[in-house]
């Protein structure tokens, strides 16, 4: 069965619950969310006003779930959702929003606009109005197992390299391990150092861990494109592997939306609580720090700042941990203006980076991050999301800025005491 308007409308109807209804009932059109969104502040385009991005869902709520809207619908007065609307909204919803959720923090009425946009995407995708590139990435994630098309042999090759470089053995499919590490395709392809760093830290900390050869991919294109069924399928693979290996904790790697997918959306997608815990790698590392398992040596003297990946800090709740960890190896840590839960998005999350059509706007809105960086002029930027990292590198290059990007886990590993 192919995508259709009917399916899209039905999907939107499914999305409406008491939160959606109270959010739409509360909007007063004050426009403050626009100032919270880098896609507006850097482009000046009013269509990028966050609440405007929810229009298809709002129309369904209004016409199906309100008294006046239903009466209006009978007389053809309530605005309808049709293909033309969805086509017009496709770029608004996918290319000009990273689901960063900054608008949700600013709205004086407390509307979780990012949640509404996420829900809007469900209808857009079901109606066949998702970007081609995102559909492609999702197809690869479902059929190959990775949005970037990374297959097991590629991972094995990287693991071999790491094992060769370090002389350590990377534990694969170890039943009963305490931790099961997930990886993002980007880490496998672009930042294999992450595997090495993690292996070192876990080794020093003396904990048992493993990587599943059946479910190593952490990313979830399903939640980016907005198809809960696919997102659930992808989560289920991890759940199956974790249950098979009987691990206590699944670790989400340095990837924003992967954490959202497995930690917060996961159990709700598959419809039952997990039998294991899910933690972000930074949470695990901070636990090690608290338990005294991390012995650090040497301090970075360069001016370091931390870029909060939206899905990990603002939407994920991991805010203090990276700061605790950085302070272990740095005595020159500076915060950007608007950091932590109010940090500005790099501009490439929520599927934007997988969507070539959005390349131009993604680099344009990087201006926001540039302004933030210009305010403190750091020597290096630490982040905890490969996607942020790649885009930050892109952006810095575009704006002729020469600031190196560091992975928090990797930098920490470099400072491990022998």
């Amino acid at each position: 069965m192919s995508a259709s308007l009917e399916k899209g409308v039905n999907a939107l109807k499914e999305q409406v619950d008491s939160t959606v209804a109270s959010f739409f009932s509360s909007c007063v059109h004050c426009g403050m969310c626009s100032e919270a969104c880098l896609f507006y502040t850097e482009t000046g385009s009013p269509t990028s006003t966050p609440i405007n991005k929810t229009e298809p869902l709002r129309r369904i709520w209004k016409s199906e779930y309100t008294l006046l809207g239903r009466i209006g619908k009978m007389f053809g007065l309530t605005a309808k959702v049709d293909d033309a609307l969805l086509a017009e909204w496709e770029t608004v919803v996918y290319d000009n929003c990273t689901l960063c959720g900054r608008c949700s923090m600013v709205c004086p009425m407390g509307i979780d606009i990012a949640l509404l946009i996420r829900k809007t995407r469900e209808g857009m995708a079901a109606a066949g109005h998702a970007p081609e590139d995102l559909i492609g990435a999702t197809r690869r994630a479902v059929t190959i197992g990775s949005p970037m098309g990374v297959k097991l042999p590629a991972l094995m090759a990287q693991i071999k390299h790491v094992e060769k470089d370090t002389g350590m053995t990377i534990p694969l499919d170890v039943v009963g391990a305490e931790y099961m590490l997930l990886l993002s395709s980007m880490e496998i392809m672009n930042f294999p150092e992450f595997i090495e760093a993690t292996a070192k830290i876990f080794d020093k900390a003396g904990v048992s861990w493993t990587i599943s050869t059946e479910a190593f991919e952490a990313t979830n294109s399903g939640i980016q494109i907005g198809v809960a069924d696919i997102a659930a399928e992808l989560v289920q693979r991890i759940v199956d592997a974790a249950e098979k290996l009987q691990v206590k904790t699944v670790i989400s790697p340095e990837c924003g939306h992967a954490y959202m997918a497995i930690r917060w959306d996961g159990p709700n997608l598959v419809g039952k609580p997990f039998s294991f815990k899910v933690r972000h790698i930074l949470e695990v590392l901070d636990e090690f720090r608290q338990d005294g398992r991390l012995k650090i040596t040497g301090k970075e003297t360069q001016r370091l700042t931390y870029h909060d990946p939206c899905q990990i800090s603002r939407r994920g709740g991991v805010i203090e941990q990276p700061r605790n960890l950085i302070n272990m190896f740095s005595d020159n840590f500076v915060e950007m203006p608007d950091h932590g839960k109010m940090n500005w998005c790099c501009g490439a999350g929520g599927g934007v980076s997988s969507n070539e059509r959005a390349d131009e706007v993604r680099l344009k809105v990087f201006q926001r991050k540039k302004d933030q960086l210009d305010a403190i002029k750091p020597d290096a930027i630490i982040s905890a999301c490969s996607n942020c990292r790649i885009h930050l590198e892109d952006g810095l290059e575009e704006y002729n800025m020469d600031i190196p990007l560091l992975s928090l886990t990797e930098t920490l590993a470099e400072h491990l005491a022998d």
């Binding site: 192919s2 995508a3 399916k7």
Partner: protein, 378 residues
């Protein structure tokens, strides 16, 4: 007391004929009234008509040459309170001059004559002064069943229409005659209407009040007598000189309203201190009358000065304002009960609509087709 005060009126109504062609000035002189006394009379008249003292010479001149008009007074559905009020105005030398100056040819409460003789007096006055007499009406006119109020077998309606024909002008005295008053109050069992509701082709001066302030009645009579014209009227036919400002605007307790100092009950500290009576239901803010300056009982006081809120008696439908002790910002109906019933009904309706919402959502969920990767393209 009443007898004494009514004396000169009664004198006038004993069908005693005076020469209507003499001017007031001539009449006064013939009675030996000095020019100085006349000036005093003019000053008092100016004050009574709420006119500027600068008008005194004009008034003197006008009164000099004024002629005695014939006055016919009809009382319909009323309580005689207006006549009582008028006789209170007729207390002493100065004001009595005004009544000396008119020929009250028919007033069934005050005149000595009764029955056929009385009606003959009315008919005679109408005939003699056709087109020139002044018609004063108090009381409302029942339109439902004429039997509710008749005089000498003539229905109020018939008598009014007949007498109005030859009137130069009509003065409707009291809220009943001007706006229907108490008889008109909901549910208006007699179908009471005002003079203005029935007569459209004569100048009507409305002098509302329940009763009107005595000097306002005489003031209007005097104006007609002095200038032979009707005073400037507001949009509901009231002379602006007396009804131009609201009680609230002229009230000496207004500063307390502005400061937010209110008597909450009739015996609290606020009441003792003379604070604003708004909360006790004062209708001053929506009532136009001269009480605050003219006052009652020979200027000794007025309701608010006595510590009682204004009832708004000079306004139409003042009986139906939700109660004399209900503040004008309060709803007139029992809203609390309405609100409770509404809330209960709405809660039920809300549950129905909410359940419909929920089931609509559930059927959308049920209609969900699992979306696979192949379903994302059209």
């Amino acid at each position: 007391m009443t007898n004494k005060k009514d004396k000169s009126l009664l004198d006038k109504t004993g069908l005693e004929k005076t020469d209507v062609n003499r001017t007031l000035g001539e009449m006064l002189r013939s009675q030996g009234v000095s020019r100085r006394s006349f000036l005093k009379y003019c000053a008092a008249t100016a004050s009574m008509m709420a006119m500027s003292p600068a008008m005194i010479p004009k008034i003197a001149h006008a009164l000099e040459s004024a002629r005695r008009p014939s006055v016919i007074w009809l009382s319909f559905q009323e309580c005689t309170g207006c006549t009582e009020s008028l006789t209170r105005a007729h207390t002493a030398t100065i004001e009595s001059l005004i009544f000396d100056a008119i020929s009250l040819d028919y007033h069934h409460t005050l005149q000595a004559a009764a029955g056929h003789a009385a009606e003959e007096a009315r008919e005679a006055a109408m005939k003699e002064n056709f087109g020139k007499y002044l018609l004063v009406v108090d009381g409302s006119i029942p339109m439902d069943n004429p039997g509710y109020s008749t005089i000498a077998g003539i229905s109020n309606y018939d008598m009014l229409m007949e007498t109005a024909k030859g009137a130069a002008a009509i003065i409707a005295v009291g809220t009943c005659a001007t706006y229907g008053g108490l008889p008109h109050a909901n549910p208006n069992p007699t179908g009471a209407v005002s003079v203005g509701d029935l007569i459209k082709d004569k100048p009507i001066i409305n002098v509302p009040g329940c009763p009107p302030i005595p000097v306002v009645i005489t003031g209007v009579l005097t104006h007609f007598l002095t200038f032979g014209t009707i005073p400037e009227l507001d949009h509901i036919g009231r002379p602006k000189v007396f009804y131009g400002q609201s009680i609230h605007d002229r009230c000496y307790r207004r500063p307390f309203y502005d400061k937010g100092l209110f008597a909450e009950t009739f015996d609290d500290e606020g009441a003792k201190k003379g604070w604003c009576l708004y909360k006790l239901g004062c209708k001053g803010p929506t009532t136009y009358n001269a009480c605050a300056t003219t006052k009652w009982n020979d200027g000794t006081g007025w309701p608010i000065e006595a510590g009682h809120p204004c009832l708004g008696c000079s306004e139409p439908d003042f009986w139906d304002g939700g109660g004399f002790y209900k503040s004008i910002s309060m709803p007139t109906e029992n809203i609390t009960q309405t609100a409770i019933y509404t809330a209960a009904a709405a809660a039920a309706a809300g549950v129905v609509l909410g359940t419909m919402n929920k089931s609509k959502k559930n059927s959308a969920v049920a209609a969900h087709n699992k979306t696979s990767i192949d379903d994302l393209e059209k």
